[in-house]
Amino acid sequence: MASPPFRRLLVANRGEIAVRVIRACDKLGIETVAAVSEADRDSLAARTATRAVCIGPAPARESYLKPEALVAAALGTGCEAIHPGYGFLSERPAFSRLCREAGVRFVGPSPEAIEAMGDKISAVRLATEAGVPRVPGSERIDSLATAQSEARRVGYPVLLKASAGGGGRGMRIVRSEAELPAAMQAAAAEAQAAFGDGTLYMEKFIERARHIEIQVLGDSHGNVVHLGERDCSTQRRHQKLIEEAPSPAIDAAMRVELADAAVRLARRVSYEGAGTVEFVYDTDAGRAYFLEMNTRIQVEHPVTEMVTGRDLVAEQIRIAAGEPVSFAQGDVALRGHAIECRINAEDASRGFLPSPGRLTSWSMPQGEGLRVDTHCFEGYLVPPFYDSLLAKVIAHGSSRAEAIERMDSALARCRIEGVLTTAPFHRAVLAHKDFRAARVTTRWVEETLLAREKVAA
């Protein structure tokens, strides 16, 4: 094996992604230090890392969200690099900058690139400059009068969005001018509370949309490659539940168009590391528009790994060490179909209510074409402080139908007791004719699946 990209790396995250990063480091011959909160002292990441350090109390704001504590932990343990995972500090330009100033490599893009893509208005402008079409919409909205004139120009229904936003917070669908004042007020208040910034902008609301995203990798040598798309249309309240690759909803021409657009945008910001360019695909018009770019590894990266055979986390780490992407665009071949289901500790029958607790039983399926990314084990206490993701089950097959069958059989073999999970919900989705026929849109779960269940109940 070539010499490791780093001698030692700090894992500044928790849960399954911390375990995933440690696995990639093991493969690359890198020692790992797991930065853990007090609640995660006994976590799988703490046990599998070379070493663990406690960075603070359970609440994330006092541990995983403290840039100074994480950088101090990296310096104090002799780490050359920090992997931020996803969520937490992964997309904070200030964290990337602090790492740079402290002389620790941040496994991710430059603070400038994160900044450029993190502000949605700036991202949309850059995308437009790179020739990546955006959803018809406005710039910053600073008054009701601007909102009214912009909404008339774009055409109702419109979607109000938070400039600093993500995850669906600060968003409102507005169907008529009468609804506009109240919706603006609510969206701005929500954005202010969630992001500390109440700035809004507006987009045309697409009734039947699919979420399609392109995985890219860029390096410090100017190479940018894409690894095809993922389709994450099965969502609930803008939270992805099922992801698959390739998308069953687009044709070869659209696939090339989106991939080219994503690569152009990544080049435009001299992107280094793993990133994802997200698009909303209007199924009625057959057109795709730029949504945003995520400057980190994504939860759903395994579906891309399953169809390309590439290790995205290992690539990220090598890129951070200054190495080029280990393969050329021409070497990327897509094989078969992969689906990922996020198993959350939530009660789908009660509005996806979080269900923390101790896993009195935990047994996950194994077999051909199956992969399970998890930090759980029998006896593990799912803490109430963090997100509810327990595991990601990924099934690969030669066709979409085979991947679905394999996934359903895998979910049927999950033995999880002590907490309620979304596994039964996933089986209901997989069995539905709309999902099988790839007719699911980003609001299908709420408007069709859950709405019908309510009628039936």
Binding site: E38, A46, A52, P57, E68, T77, G379
Partner: protein
């Protein structure tokens, strides 16, 4: 607390006592007796908890090699009766205000609750850590200039016997 009677033992006082007991890792049971009032506190060290922990460390997903490892901080043996001054944050531990100066405290030295006993530096920001109780420093398990983790014991202080002021 001049002329304090047992009637003045407030909820706050009890909370403070409980906190002190909680922070003294070796204490399982404490009995305090005032004139006419007895406070009996017992830490719940039920075997159920340790059994569950054992189960947690024993069962891991198949195919994942998990080295048997305890919590990150190996707790040093606390001197009997002493109270631990713990790190309120992760950072670098310093015994003196600056290199070359005398340490804030030495073993055997008497301290007041508000006295600074050490510093923790986090990214060039120095945080003064105070003793928390009146008493005598009996041990300093943390190493000068070393990384200390959150909640790690830094200094042990033997509290003064309760005095009728």
């Amino acid at each position: 607390m001049a002329a304090a009677s047992t009637m003045d033992l407030t909820h706050d006082d009890v909370a403070k006592i409980l906190k002190i007991i909680d922070e003294a890792a070796h204490l399982d049971e404490v009995e305090l007796e005032f004139a006419g009032l007895r406070l009996h506190v017992r830490r719940d060290a039920s075997p159920g908890e340790s059994v569950r922990r054992t189960a947690a460390s024993a069962a891991v997903p198949a195919g994942v090699a998990v080295p048997a490892k305890k919590a990150p901080v190996a707790e040093p043996q606390a001197p009997a009766g002493a109270v631990a001054v713990r790190a309120p944050m992760l950072g670098t531990f310093y015994r003196a205000p600056s290199p070359g100066e005398n340490p804030f405290v030495e073993v055997g030295q008497h301290v007041k609750a508000g006295d600074t006993v050490c510093l923790i530096e986090v990214m060039k920001l120095f945080n003064s850590i105070s003793a928390g109780v009146d008493g005598t420093v009996v041990a300093i398990p943390a190493q000068n200039g070393a990384l200390v983790e959150y909640n790690q014991p830094l200094v042990y202080v033997m509290p003064d016997p309760a005095s009728e002021e």
